[in-house]
């Protein structure tokens, strides 16, 4: 779908766009400029840095998986089901997007913590969430889940229900429709939702700090390590910041490279829908 814009944009839009891009890029450039390059490799390969990076990648991967497991059904229900109070449910699901992460961490603390809502039950089962890597995963999932739900719900709405209806009339049960039609159709949306969630997990700081604590190799993820290093060694903090920026750029770049190609394919498959006359 190549679309050429015949009407040029007003100049001030371009100026605003340039200012906006600069606003986002300049700080990143400033970080790069501040890096002590002579010490860069030792700084980012120190034991604590590697432990933090490894923990961040592992927890973000686990959280993304959890986001998919919980978010796919949630998005399906929000996009397809009809029930009273759906708008309310949607706004509640999206709440972590606007909530300060620290508040999320505090909320999790009072849910899964030792004195929390489920703390007693968890303790009885021999599960201790507090100060464990599981707590990091919970915190990340809490803040990242809305990204997946929002992206996937949008993809589901765009895909529409017509393919699903056709599949049903061909004899496919709901589970078959979901597995063989709905999910493949929204796979690009699911992928970019998962990537966004992963990126959000990587950057998660406030909820983790409030809920999981900070211990090297267990709960101290890269953002927490940066925050701590800043106290003692600003060079290390800047170097690690750059690492985090690079990881984020790679992740986001990957998602935007893969997403458009597949969705264009999906669009054209509607055949001649755009030109078809209205049915009654």
């Amino acid at each position: 779908m190549s679309r050429s814009n015949t009407v040029p944009l007003p100049r001030w839009v371009l100026a605003g766009a340039a200012a906006g891009a600069l606003f986002l890029l300049l700080p990143l450039a400033a970080v790069a400029a501040e890096v002590n390059w002579a010490e860069f490799i030792p700084l980012v390969t120190s034991e604590s840095s590697l432990a933090a990076l490894s923990l961040s990648l592992r927890t973000a991967a686990a959280s993304t998986l959890l986001c998919v497991l919980l978010g796919v059904p949630l998005a399906l229900v929000l996009a397809r089901a009809r029930f009273p109070g759906k708008r309310l449910v949607r706004s509640l699901v999206l709440l972590p997007l606007v909530l300060p992460p620290v508040v999320g961490g505090i909320a999790l603390l009072y849910t899964f913590g030792r004195q929390g809502l489920l703390g007693g039950a968890l303790e009885a089962m021999g599960v201790q969430v507090a100060f464990s890597t599981a707590a990091v995963v919970l915190a990340q999932t809490f803040v990242a889940l809305p990204f997946l739900v929002l992206t996937l719900e949008g993809a589901l709405r765009t895909a529409g229900t017509r393919y699903e209806a056709v599949a049903a009339t061909l004899g496919a049960r709901p589970w078959t429709v979901l597995r063989r039609v709905t999910v493949p159709l929204v796979l690009p949306g699911l992928a970019s939702g998962a990537v966004l969630s992963f990126a959000r997990c990587l950057g998660e700081f406030g909820a983790t700090l409030a809920f999981a604590g900070s211990l090297q190799g267990v709960t101290r993820t890269l953002p927490l390590e940066i925050y701590l290093q800043r106290e003692a060694d600003a060079d290390a903090a800047v170097a690690l910041s750059l690492v985090l920026v690079l990881v984020a750029v790679v992740v986001v770049g990957l998602s935007y490279r893969s997403a458009p190609a597949r969705s264009a394919d999906t669009r054209s498959a509607g055949g001649r829908s755009a030109t078809a006359g209205a049915a009654d």
Binding site: G213, R220, E231, A232, S241
Partner: protein, 258 residues
């Protein structure tokens, strides 16, 4: 003389939040309309006494506004080094003050205005039955301390070494408020915090004092900065804090005074 170098200010912005931005926008002392402004950078643990002192100082010096910037000492030192406009700096440790002094940004020799010592904070009811410092090393006790990189963590480490016990904390927080949070919520069985934190918590945690604590004393140095806009006013504030009013406020907050 420009105190606001864009590159450094940008770095400050990145490192410490938004303060660097306002640093360029608001002049520290604005005497044109007969009012003067004093910007005080103070360690977060000084929040309660300094808020009161600032109000009293304003009352004693009509037309003066004291702007308090309360944050971690390392943050504040980084902001000052990055060119943030501050008149007075009160640090919670000597290391961060040394950064400022070494950079030649202090106008005088810093003076110690307060001391603080560690204590054990436990959740209401003391569920793990902590009775002294040695209990923190007992198996199954969930202890939270500050990370070594921050003053309260360095102090905790020193105490542990002196006592010859090995702490195995479940979390090493980057600030003492992080430790307090874990104790207040009952997540941790005990935490090493400052006496003043327990005092400020208003009974949300219980204190288990231990004699070994006096082996690690944190000193709070205060200094007028070389870049102060109104050095007379800045001096007045420094003296005010060191005088009886200041000592009383600090003592009430739980600080020791020299």
């Amino acid at each position: 003389m420009s105190r606001c170098r864009p590159g450094r200010a940008l770095a400050a912005l990145l490192l410490t939040g938004t303060l660097g931005l306002s640093a360029c926008a608001v002049p520290a002392g604005d005497q044109q309309n007969g009012t003067s402004e004093l910007t005080v950078f103070a360690a977060a643990s000084l929040a309660a006494p300094f808020t009161r002192l600032a109000e009293d100082f304003e009352a004693a010096h009509p037309g003066t506004t004291v702007r308090l910037n309360l944050a971690g000492s390392a943050d504040l030192a980084a902001q000052i080094l990055a060119g943030a406009p501050a008149d007075v700096f009160a640090s919670a440790d000597e290391a961060n003050m040394a950064k400022v002094v070494d950079a030649g940004m202090a106008a005088e020799e810093p003076r110690n205005i307060a001391t603080n010592t560690l204590t054990i904070a436990v959740p209401a009811g003391n569920p793990a039955g902590i009775a002294g410092f040695a209990d923190l090393a007992a198996a199954g006790v969930q202890v939270v301390v500050c990370a070594e990189q921050v003053p309260c963590g360095a102090a905790a480490e020193k105490l542990a070494q002196n006592a010859g016990i090995l702490l195995a904390p479940v979390s090493e927080e980057s600030s003492v408020t992080g430790v307090m949070g874990k104790v207040v919520s009952g997540e941790a069985d005990a935490g090493l915090v400052y006496v003043t934190d327990v005092r400020a918590s208003g009974g949300k945690v219980q204190e288990v004092p231990f004699p070994e604590a006096k082996e690690a004393v944190n000193r709070y140095p205060l200094v007028r900065l070389a870049a102060a806009g109104d050095s007379g006013l800045a001096d007045a504030f420094v003296r005010y804090v060191g005088a009886d009013e200041g000592r009383r406020a600090l003592q009430e907050a739980g600080f020791g005074v020299p």
